[in-house]
Amino acid sequence: MKNIQEVSRVTIRFAGDSGDGIQLTGNQFTRTTAIALNDLSTLPDYPAEIRAPAGTLYGVSGFQIQFSSQNIHTPGDEVDVLVAMNPAALQSGLKSLKKNGIIIINGDAFTERNLRMANFSENPLENGFLAGYQVYPVDITRLSRDALEKIELTHKEKDRCKNFFALGMVYWLYNRSMDATVEWIERKFSRQPIWAEANVLALKAGRNYAEATELFATSYRVPEAKIEPGIYRQITGNEALTFGLIAAAAKARRNIFYGSYPITPASDVLQYMASYKHFGIKTLQAEDEIAAIGAAIGASFAGDIGVTATSGPGLALKSEFLGLAVMTELPLVVMDIQRSGPSTGMPTKTEQADLLQGLFGRSGEAPIPAIAASSPADCFYAAYEAVRVAIRFMVPVLVFSDAYLANGAEPWKIPDTEGLPEIEIEFAKAGEDYAPYLRDPQTLARRWALPGTPGLEHRLGGLEKQDVTGNVSYDPDNHEKMVRLRAEKVQRVGEFVEEPEIYGDSRGEVLVVSWGSTYGTVLTAVEQLRKEGKSASFYHLRWVNPLPKKLETYIRRFRRVIVPEVNLGQLRRIIRSTYLVDAVGFNRMKGQPISVSELKQAIEALLEEKNNGR
């Protein structure tokens, strides 16, 4: 008799060798969970090595998912269930496992050699090391081979199905239907029926094994969450950026020119864009990041929407051209998918440490508007809005994402394409009295005149421009005027875009201000504190330049301001200097998102200060 317990929130981590199909397993579990109408958030973490040697700690590939009957915003700090396909996966997964958490282990992989590679001096299954957890060692390799006895595949080939065996067990544990995965396998392997059959058999065998052996005393059910009606799909941050650009191009009825140079974690975007040529997307894998942005600028000059993406080191290479884009006032979108630095740093790991580089890392006074995506799906809207602003204001726009958003995925409610804001372009027309630097009085944008248009011949360049005419000018007063105009134009973007709303009361004890991918973590922490009756509110920036007007108002209405970031305090520095407020930081640089519980403690400490007489 099955004993089913209802729970509201669960975090599972699948982990194994990079060859174990962990990402695929995680994606299947995610999809099934979404169809079961739970809210969810996922975090894949791949090894940096392409083919890391089997069994090593650094070769562990992980996939974490949190799902719930309530709204959730992070992949979870603490893991309820760890599926460890080998000792290295166990070793690296233990530190985030809850007390009394469940561990499902592939016992076959606990060989002496694997144990040694995972830094276990003894077998943890035998020496009581795992006391305090619910441990389920299962001979997953052997059992899946048995299940595939009749299939004509070699042992080695059969072993590639063992991830589905593990998935089958987890499906049983959470009372999930296998239909979606079976259907997916059959579709995916429609041309290799033997593999379709083998994978389905392994999946079912895993589930049957859990059922027949009464492996787990209890199984769990997570009730449906209240989710807005609509059509959904899973989307990663990098896919969402791609879709956002394509949607913006379609709305603007212009081609996108996308120039880029491969760099983790931005390469996907070039790969995706290259496959959407039928949307009029032109892609160039340039010889370096400099050429990539240069070509994008050239394309914008000639009437396409120039876009480039990179990560921190590439952004550094682009800085001189960014200055040229500021000077020539052409529309351009530059996306920085941040990763851990400095230098090559930890290329596959996340960080938010390019904020100051992005905002200030250029010669001269070269301000540019910058928008930061807050979740994988939000990357869609960030890219879209960046294009809209770039065109409207004739400016380069920076989009911040990071490795966490780029690879992370969440359900995305597919938007109604008609509902997306319009993107209108009005080019200067042949025969009009054209002055290249004559500005729209409201936006301060100059007019875009395309080569090929008779009568509008003009020269752009990096030398200082005379106001209105755009002729080269060394006049001192003109230079000061132009520096101020370019800065003012960026400020005016603030009047065009929507300002974010505060979460929680608009005055109180502690205000948490954040930007970018920390959104989910901060929201969760503040949500929990408010449930506990604490006076904490949350203001998450969307545009990091210009800053929203409301920010100052809110900052004045709270006793303390804290700025959590995955860097040493870059936004905090800006906030302190802009508003002369004693904002404190909460800073973690571990190549991972910050944890909810740690952040909560930091906010609580600030809340308690008052009692200590501050």
Partner: protein
């Protein structure tokens, strides 16, 4: 231009003259190049609004300001990158890249070779004065060994690039050289470059009379030039000299210069073929000028047809649309696995 030597010259009243004061030093070879360009442009059959001049940074790179067409004075060394975007965005434009020896071969060397390899249909005009002009006289990647400049007080120990050899190996499909003092020849070469479909590269020997005066004196003075310069002509043997009485031929792996008496037939001399598929031939030609005692070839080294980059790019776009139909946003969004929440 050595900074702050503003010189105003009256622009000739031609279609392509801009209203900007030309600010090169008096006597600079750049003037002759500008004059020929303005003369040639009305003859290439492209209306002014479809002509785009793109440059990097340097004296030479001021050029776009002086031509009344579309222009873009970009950043040091990177004009080829900007040109690539322009040409892919609008293949109909006639795109000219104006660059210096430092601009294209030092800071922008990478972009130049990739431009050539892609065979983008643009015309690169390299003003080679063997010196950094704008920054006032440092040696450049084409300065000869031993050259004494402000940054090489003991003489340069860097071997120079041979720009023609470089772009040939990088895959440029039209490669030529001309000299600022030979204006007629220059005009002809510009026209040929404009007419060529593909990446055209023209090296112009340009005199910087302020920081490197006379670098090409032997090639331009009447007493010496006939023996120092070999004018390449398609279908003709490699002959030079005032009386056209000297010729070049292979001798084993070496190049041999021979005197011919008037009656001599030149049958055994190699005949110049611009479109020879054998790139080694053009490479050989390009190195002749480096050999002491041999003349410097000018003219068209190579002119071959290859599909251009923007053609291929357009074809792929059209092919994708033909195969998949024009992109449909709604379809895109629901591609992959979707589920419905009621």
């Amino acid at each position: 231009m050595a900074d702050n030597i503003p010189v105003t010259t009256k622009s000739p009243k031609e279609d392509f003259a801009s209203d900007q004061d030309v600010r090169w030093c008096p006597g600079c070879g750049d003037y002759a190049i500008l004059a020929q360009m303005k003369k040639v442009l009305p003859e290439i059959g492209v209306p002014r609004e479809k002509v785009v001049f793109i440059s990097g940074i340097g004296c030479a790179s001021r050029f776009p300001y002086y031509i009344n067409s579309y222009g873009f004075h970009t950043i040091h060394g990177r004009a080829p990158a900007v040109a690539t975007g322009i040409k892919l965005a609008n293949p109909e434009l006639s795109v000219w890249i104006i660059t210096g020896d430092g601009d294209s071969l030092s800071i922008g060397g990478n972009h130049l070779i990739h431009l050539c390899r892609r065979n983008l249909d643009v015309n690169v005009i390299l003003f080679n004065n063997q010196i950094y002009g704008l920054t006032k006289g440092q040696y450049s990647p084409t300065s000869p060994l031993g050259k004494v400049t402000k940054t090489t007080p003991y003489g340069s120990i860097d071997r120079p690039f041979n720009p023609i050899s470089l772009v040939l190996s990088a895959g440029a499909t039209f490669v030529a050289r001309t000299i600022d003092r030979d204006t007629k020849h220059m005009a002809e070469i510009f026209k040929r470059a404009a007419a060529h479909k593909g990446c055209s590269f023209v090296e112009v020997y340009q005199n910087c009379n302020i920081f490197n005066d006379g670098a090409y004196r032997l090639l331009t003075e009447p007493e010496t030039k006939f023996d120092q310069v070999l004018y390449l002509e398609d279908g003709k043997p490699l002959i030079y000299g005032k009386e056209k009485n000297r010729g070049l031929r292979f001798n084993g792996f070496e190049t041999e210069a021979l005197e011919m008496n008037e009656s001599a037939e030149n049958k055994d001399l190699p005949v110049h073929r611009e479109n020879s598929e054998n790139e080694a031939y053009a490479q050989w030609l390009s190195r002749i000028g480096d050999v002491p005692g041999l003349p410097v070839p000018v003219g068209v080294f190579r002119a071959v047809q290859r599909p251009t980059y923007e053609q291929l790019s357009e074809q792929q776009l059209a092919g994708a649309i033909q195969k998949k139909g024009p992109g449909d946003l709604k379809q895109l969004f629901i591609s992959g696995d979707t589920w419905k929440v009621e």
